[in-house]
């Protein structure tokens, strides 16, 4: 079986962090050739900081985040503050189908790498820019990462316990993966359009505008009721019980999520946990009663579950047809039986760090499986391969670029650079 793009589509990935790189990584899974450009001074900040460990430990090659989001890419370095570096970017653009960048507005302008400049070099080029808040509007130049984008979309303000004002940022910087996924969709839409028109285009994704749709329900609710939706915490306005409870076990991580979506499920839940008396308790007899007495209900469940080992609670509740799941930590996710059953995680061997499991392609294609075996590149790992094969450079030219500092494989700490 073959991949979708069979290396016939080339992507120039100038992005850093997660949102832009995720789009490049997904295109690599589809079989595109993805060339990631970094600067030996300003390498991808998701590689972390040189100060984290001595140089011989190669700290910037040990970032789980970078090594996940850049799998399957070729890695080259170019000094983008040097006109020769910019010239080489343009030469790669001439051979590329897609350019991904997620710099703050103004940076590509300073590099002289705007779509207006690049399109004449390659009218078929599809360029996507992924600024946090968009080109245009008073916040054009405001800075944001995944968590700040998530906040400005309104998500953080809703993430509170039901009895507290303190908002919490989500655990996964949701703005980033949503930006990457939305961007990937946009790239594919433009690529499809190009099949008909023969021409590329510039696509703009203000990352916050990709996240706000995830709160469409709350935005409609506010307009229809005039009330800002109240934070729910672990509760739900239409169901009770609906929460997270600690189970028995030697460790403190045995948390269980459970919900009863009907009176029948509530009775089944109570019986499954040996709580017959609660199933018939008038305080909990129907949804309205359980909502009115939810603190008492949660207290009863907290007391009861504290003595039940989590695995036993899960299997008893599942057998009773109750919606339940363990609150999985990282090792529990890695060990999840259903994920293992479907072979979700894929082992990849990478230089410096060795073999680990990485999240696999989510879209399981019956005829064109994902290309997933290649690791993230070391800094400048594919300089020779890309510049020789794509741009036809000689060994002498490569050596000269390296001695001039335009390319390289050693990180340079910009604070110490002259």
């Amino acid at each position: 079986m073959t991949t979708i793009f069979q290396k016939k589509i080339r992507v120039l990935d100038l992005s850093m962090g997660w949102a832009g790189p995720l789009a490049g990584q997904m295109l690599a899974e589809m079989g595109a050739q993805v060339i990631k450009v970094e600067d030996t001074h300003y390498f991808d900040w998701w590689r972390g900081s040189l100060s984290m460990a001595p140089p011989e430990v190669q700290p910037i090659e040990r970032a789980a985040t970078f090594n996940t989001a850049n799998r399957g890419k070729l890695g080259v370095t170019l000094d983008l503050l040097n006109p020769r570096g910019i010239d080489l970017v343009k030469r790669i653009v001439a051979h590329s189908d897609i350019l991904i960048e997620n710099y703050s507005p103004g940076v590509m302008e300073r590099f002289g790498l705007t779509y207006e400049i690049l399109a004449p070099l390659n009218p078929r080029l599809i360029m996507i820019s992924m600024p946090s808040f968009g080109y245009g509007g008073p916040e054009t130049f405001s800075r944001g990462y995944g968590n700040t984008v998530e906040a400005m979309a309104g998500i953080t303000g809703l993430a509170r316990y039901h009895d507290s004002d303190q908002p919490y940022t989500l655990s996964n910087a949701l703005g980033d993966p949503v930006g990457g996924l939305t961007g990937t969709f946009g790239i594919l839409a433009a690529l499809h359009e190009r099949e008909t028109t023969g021409r590329g285009q510039w696509i703009e994704l203000a990352q916050v505008e990709g996240v706000i749709p995830l709160l469409a329900g709350q935005i409609l609710e506010y307009q229809l009721t005039g009330k800002v939706p109240a934070p729910r915490g672990n509760r739900h306005p239409d169901f009770a019980p609906h929460g997270i409870f600690r189970c028995a076990g030697g460790e403190e991580h045995a948390w269980l999520a459970l919900a009863a979506h009907s009176d029948d499920q509530w009775r089944a839940l109570a019986r499954a946990l040996g709580l017959e008396r609660l199933a018939t308790d008038p305080r909990f007899i129907d949804l309205a009663s359980r909502k009115a007495n939810e603190d008492a209900l949660d207290a009863e469940l907290t007391r009861a579950l504290a003595t039940v080992p989590i695995d036993e609670a899960v299997s008893r509740l599942r057998a009773a047809g109750v919606d339940t799941a363990p609150v999985n930590s990282a090792p529990a996710v890695l060990g999840d039986a259903q994920l293992q059953d479907r072979g979700y995680f894929v082992p990849i061997d990478r230089a410096v760090v060795g073999t680990h499991l990485y999240p696999g392609a989510v879209a399981r294609m019956s005829a064109t499986p994902a290309a997933q075996e290649a690791p993230a590149p070391l800094l400048g790992e594919h300089n020779a391969e890309v510049f020789r094969e794509l741009l036809g450079m000689t060994e002498a030219e490569l050596a000269e670029l390296e001695s001039a500092g335009v390319i390289g494989t050693a990180p340079r700490d910009y604070r110490k650079a002259s």
Binding site: N147, M152, P177, A189, H192, A216, L220, Y358, S366
Partner: protein, 393 residues
Amino acid sequence: MRYHALNDIKVVDLTHFIAGPYATKLLADYGAKVIKVEPPAGEGGRGPLFAFLNTNKLGVTLDLKHPRGRALIRELLADADLLVENFAPGTLARLGLEPSELLETFPRLSLVSISNFGQDGAESGGMLSDLTLFARGGWTFPIGERDRAPLTPPGSLAQYVGGLYGAVGAMQAIFARDLTTHRGQHVDISLLEATVATMIYETVAFQYNGILRERAGRRFAVGPFLIVTLKCRDGYAGLQCVTDKQFQGLCDLMQRPDLKTDDRFNTALKRMVSNDALLEIVAGFFLEHDRRWLYREGQARAIPLVPVPSVAEVLEWEQTRARDYFETIDDPALGRIRIPGAPLRMHSHRPDATRPAPRLGQHNREVLGALPGVGADGLATLERSGVIAGASA
């Protein structure tokens, strides 16, 4: 907005709830002809969110449990590129629409199936809700206070993530057919896997360093950064201080240049070790200032620092106003209402205004009436026998 990039793609949309409809909404907003097929009683619930998730789609009704309904869905599939569905695995086959048979009968058609756990595996067909999907997928464990239960994320966020994977997967099937295989295929998307895919900090980082990421209270995590939601004089603000430059900017903002060279904080590694001490200083400063002031002054120093807005404030945010982001539609059920706009701005052409979500059976005549097996006169018969409902006249 309605763009035209996908206007040669035809989608038969059998989805309901959020993940499936969001996938087909993205296809429709970018130009695909999406025919949403509802049972004669309408999609279960048909709550306010229907107005957002079904813009730019054509709406028809068909009873797929009725032999005539099954025959007509096949007529719709005859020239379709995609069938998108999020039934429980096995449901399509029970409706006489067995996936492998459909791929055989309609060689250009691809199927996109979105389900809780995927089409196979021991738990395929199992139950999940927002609460248990977030919990199972790893999002919940690291959020909240150490002395309280983990805090579940708000809303149905992971459902939308699944929808995004569905829209991307649909485009992957189109490209695979057009460039490589010249046939359709089956795309299988598990919401659990989609949820886990966006939790790379957890699964990969844990293998690298063996450190179990615990709930860190107001902080995202304890690391060589300060990512935190802090109380201000008039609300909360979010700070994401990651790089050396941002830390130096933060010191300037607080008028504490001494901290730049402070031996506890002058490298990323030290800021991880001394994270509590740094948090205490920054939290004290935020408490004495208004969030708008912090936002303006922080951003002036290139620090990712934002006020934490409510949903109401997002609707009124001058940035979304200036960019005409929210779109006002005249929804048949809700009336004039503002909905989030199309996330990607394509510059090759001008988009049209959004078409509101269809009324029940609104496009029965246009879509079903044009099928060879129906004809304009046949609609009334179909409605009388309960195969369709809604506007047939």
